[in-house]
Amino acid sequence: MPFVRSAKLSDLASLTAEVHEFLAQPGVQPGVITRFSPDLASRVYEEVLARSAEDLLEARRRERESAPEVLAFRVS
């Protein structure tokens, strides 16, 4: 039995519009693989995939700080 949760949403307006324009081109047809331009692909990566880097780094820092306390905990 799975446990599910809501997806959080936020905005990335200009890049979204640019990708939307690309998808609206006549050459982009159902069932046909179309390549992004290298520039667009790299910006999608930079802005979408790596946008949460600061959050990730902060979470990792917090976990590092609590590590000594966590490791010394004894169970019996």
């Binding site: 809501s6 990708v19 998808l23 693989i33 179309t34 995939l49 590590a67 490791l71 019996s76």
Partner: protein, 505 residues
């Protein structure tokens, strides 16, 4: 030679102590004290899973107990039995108690494979009778972390699909070793690990850091020692998840049980048992989470607790959010140990966060009228994240009849890493958390589990579909593929989810 098997009809009306006395009356002198809480829980579970007959097997050389015996009990002067009694459970009637070889063998030979419900090992220890035990789960406590274990009885091969359980003996090991044993034994076949007894785990844990004598091992272990034991014996690269938060006003620490479930759910859905470390008023304790408590529904997606194996209480018990009576609860958790297979570098939390970012971006890009972009959030969705083998993922793609043919070809034919994080996206109007066979899956986001979310090259696939939007879409759906390309879909009918993503290892 006397027959070492005996048949015993299972009478649910009999008390657990009376049943234990019956078993020992078949197997020799009783050595157990009455009142074992773990045995009582096991008897309750035997009743829940529909047990009708017990097959009592004497003179069992149980490898885990033999190790415990050699490490501790063989040192004492007086003789002590080193053999165990094993009790096999069947859902088939035996026709009455019998000790004759013919009747016993006839029963074993005629028992259908599905009637076998598992085994309980009874150690010859007065204070801690429950040894290696594997029973099927019950409808009241379904588990996600389990495996199939072969069992050979008198020339017949049976199989039990369950989660191994063991009670600490407080001499060769304590709750820490029992919990590690339960978690690693569940994963043994899947990741090719050898089997390690509690005594071996104690030695591995104290090899470099011991705070007292190694044996008797009743002092317990620190988290650091538990990590050392897991790493030294199996090579699993254990992830430690701190579960306590700090109140910004008082600086006091506390545990939010909702967060515990949220953090651990992806690992449990991946079939990976999670060792929970509890700070209870009675002392530190470890239990193993093996499933999500029943109770989540389409309207309420939060399970009311976790299903755990608690070595000092019993198997398949629900660990609730809180326990006013003073028992163990999720709000006692201080941290969790996840015995991840080596090579899984991305934790579930990172995969989920990145998946939500991808979903956010590509849903909006798919929208036909960009003026309504800000309203995309009004289409609520549910996500479910788990670690999955590429084989299970490809099999799902092959069998998902509603999947777009182009997507099927790409999923089945392109290269994939051995393990991936999959975030399934479901239609909240019809999704049933208790039934993954329903076609409610609208898409998925797939990451390489061996990549780091910070460094990139982690994304494998993104599939979004028009049903994820509150307004008209530009295409039926999109598949974003690894070589920086996109496949607009011809169809985007909902499909089903994957119920056992750990299979095929």
């Amino acid at each position: 030679m006397l027959c070492r098997y005996h048949l015993l009809p299972f009478d649910p009306a009999l008390s657990s102590d009376a049943l234990l006395a019956q078993i020992w009356s078949k197997s020799g002198d009783p050595v157990h004290r009455p009142g074992s809480g773990q045995w009582a829980e096991i008897v309750r579970h035997l009743n829940e899973i529909g047990t009708r007959t017990l097959l009592v097997q004497d003179h069992v050389r149980d490898p885990d107990f033999i190790d415990e015996y050699e490490a501790v009990y063989s040192k004492q002067y007086r003789d002590m039995d080193r053999f165990c009694v094993r009790v096999h459970a069947f859902s088939q009637d035996s026709g009455g108690p019998s000790n004759t070889e013919e009747a016993v063998l006839n029963f074993i030979d005629s028992a259908p494979a599905p009637s076998y419900l598992g085994l309980v090992t009874l150690r010859p220890l007065r204070h801690a009778p429950i040894g290696a035990t594997i029973l099927v789960d019950s409808p009241q406590a379904r588990t996600l972390c389990k495996d199939r274990f072969p069992v050979h009885i008198a020339g017949n091969k049976f199989e039990v699909l369950g989660t191994p359980y063991l009670q600490q003996d407080n001499a060769a090991g304590a709750c820490a070793q029992a919990s590690i044993w339960m978690a690693l034994r569940t994963l043994r076949r899947r990741y090719g690990s050898a089997a390690f007894s509690p005594a071996e785990l104690t030695i591995a844990a104290t090899r470099y850091t011991a705070f007292n004598r190694v044996f008797p091992g009743r002092e317990g272990l620190t988290v650091e020692q538990m990590l050392a034991a897991i790493r030294a014996t199996t090579g699993h690269d254990t992830l430690v998840i701190p579960l306590q938060e700090r109140d910004p006003n008082t600086a006091n620490t506390f545990t939010n049980p909702f967060s515990v479930v949220e953090r651990l759910q992806p690992y449990l859905e991946s079939g990976i048992p999670v060792i929970l470390l509890l700070k209870h008023p009675a002392g530190g304790h470890a239990v193993v989470a093996v499933g999500l408590a029943a109770g989540a529904s389409n309207n309420n997606n939060v399970p009311p607790g976790l299903v755990v194996h608690n070595d000092n209480k019993g198997p398949y018990r629900v660990l609730p959010f809180s326990e006013p009576g003073g028992g163990y609860a999720l709000n006692h958790c201080v941290s969790a140990l996840v015995p991840l297979p080596s090579g899984v570098l991305m934790p579930a939390k990172d995969a989920e966060k990145e998946a939500h970012n991808q979903l956010d971006f590509w849903r909006k890009a798919l929208l036909k009228d960009q003026g309504k972009r800000g309203l995309v959030a009004s289409r609520h969705l549910w996500t479910r994240t788990y670690l999955c083998t590429r084989h299970a993922f490809r099999e799902w793609a092959k069998l998902a009849g509603n999947l777009d043919p182009g997507v099927q070809r790409i999923y089945r034919a392109t290269g994939m890493p051995p393990l991936v994080w999959v975030t399934e996206i479901h239609d909240p109007d019809i999704f049933d958390p208790a039934d993954l066979s329903k076609a409610t899956r609208l898409g998925e986001i797939v990451f390489d589990a061996a990549a780091d979310a910070l460094h990139g090259d982690a994304l494998i696939y993104v599939r979004v579909s028009k049903q994820m939007l509150p307004f008209e879409a530009q295409h039926a759906g999109l598949l974003i593929v690894p070589d920086e390309a996109v496949l607009p879909l011809t169809t985007s009918e909902p499909t089903c989810g994957i119920s056992e993503p750990w299979d095929h290892i």
